[in-house]
Assembly symmetry: C2
Homo-oligomer: 328 residues x 2
Amino acid sequence: MKKLGEFERIAHYFSPLVAGQSDALGLADDAAIVSPPPGMRMAVTADALVAGVHFLESDPADRVARKALRVNISDLAAMGADPYGYTITLALPSGMENAEAWLEAFASGQRSDHLTFGIRLLGGDSVSTPGPLTISVTAFGWIPEDRALLRSGARAGDDIFVSGTIGDSGLGLAVLRSEIADIEGPDRGYLVDRYQLPEPRPMLGRALLRVASAALDVSDGLVQDLGHIAKASGVAANIALPRVPVSAAAAALVRSGKSEPVNLIASGDDYELLFTAPKEAREAVLERAEEAGVPICRIGKILPGRGVYVVDEVGNEVAIERRGYTHA
Amino acid sequence: MKKLGEFERIAHYFSPLVAGQSDALGLADDAAIVSPPPGMRMAVTADALVAGVHFLESDPADRVARKALRVNISDLAAMGADPYGYTITLALPSGMENAEAWLEAFASGQRSDHLTFGIRLLGGDSVSTPGPLTISVTAFGWIPEDRALLRSGARAGDDIFVSGTIGDSGLGLAVLRSEIADIEGPDRGYLVDRYQLPEPRPMLGRALLRVASAALDVSDGLVQDLGHIAKASGVAANIALPRVPVSAAAAALVRSGKSEPVNLIASGDDYELLFTAPKEAREAVLERAEEAGVPICRIGKILPGRGVYVVDEVGNEVAIERRGYTHA
């Protein structure tokens, strides 16, 4: 297939994504122009993804696009921001043979998540690299002037909650790498989906703006990320391992001895919201999560002190060897 | 030297860059929070740079940082926007031996241009890659609600202007690649500087907001970029090659037969402003450029029709084989 140059590439695959959208200027000018809504502040976050490091080269291109958007949307959700738009830069391997088909599928993934999350493309760049495919996304969202979900607001006595289920994504990656064998059917598909297509929680983040005391999204592993809240807030965190929500697929792997509960809370890429709230707000938290349509579980308590403690069903501390996943 | 993990890296090198700046939240939260100034719109642009493609691996790290910022500031300048801040993602080669020293120099380059251009770091990401060092920057600026410099406003009869001098950067790259030999001393240093450290023109861009009809920054070569204005505006552009401003160093290379004038207008990375304005605004344009402290030259005229025409001193058309540089 004919190899397209930079301008044709942008025009052909990405310009249709901004049709009818005045702020992107058809991706044809030097910059996009965005009018911030009155009374709102802008939340901005950036994440890079490298093929073979943050996604597998065999992952479908439409899912790679959606993952690149979703890990950023997850950061916005963790601030309580309403996702608005993003810029994207793509470094494509110079010898990439299926580049045009890959870009077409990539753009279809973008289009799909534009609809799902109400976000829009604002600009970008496409370059060639002698290295692996590399994607960088900077995402923007709006947040009310008088509040935000920071990491630093947890106080002793607060409840600790987490959304969804924990550990699926790490298991999905292990399945794709054949580190976990003999798993087929719906469980395999579910876990791979959770790795390739995280489910960020912007509705929940916004719903928590008035009630949560601290929040972040779980990207490096539950224990390690809880440590970030504890450190930023100057407190200790205590969670009960049996209370951490796990999927049926993960529970089945634990039952069959193919995984251990402690691994689930130390694997990365969950992109669930981990947050704290005063005990008095417990009912309000549960109501708001239900309104947002996101399942949450109360898994522990903030205490005076420092560090993260994980206990079993009778309150004995569980040793955590690997506290989380370091991407770098 | 000890290799630092992702968090330590960010904290050690980049956190000092945001000291005393509330919006970046110490680079320690999920996103930065920016309050847009009332009555302003936001211009946003993104560019990626790959080692060996957009800069040389031998380029000093502080200059690589400044170039990554400046190519984006140049895009903001071309919209007439006042640069405000940026996000940056770095993909560092996993086997990079001098990573810590490189990052230290890189951060010092950022700090230097924070002061020069009044911009600030808002967030970012640092990941490892098996490929070449890759940098992606998304830059933001503020622009008044009622005007902007677009590419599409040029009209038949308008003057064509360009800032600074054209072709130096391409010559600087040729010198670094030893494609031009026997050049030492101040001329060599000047041309290399122009390649490694472009001089974006945000003051000029803002000064032109009320008088220019169209503008962009010259990144792909004067002829090719003028073609973008012509196409977006639905007009033709005619420039006189002898009127295109060249530096003393470039003129010396032309005199000695080591370069040709026509190559200067087809090489990339100039990052000067190319713009059009109605003939009646000529005096205003010259005054505003002088106030902004940026030299400009009037090099041609917008005509009805389409395409870009380059003529010599007696009005004969000059054949242009290579119209510009395609990065992709």
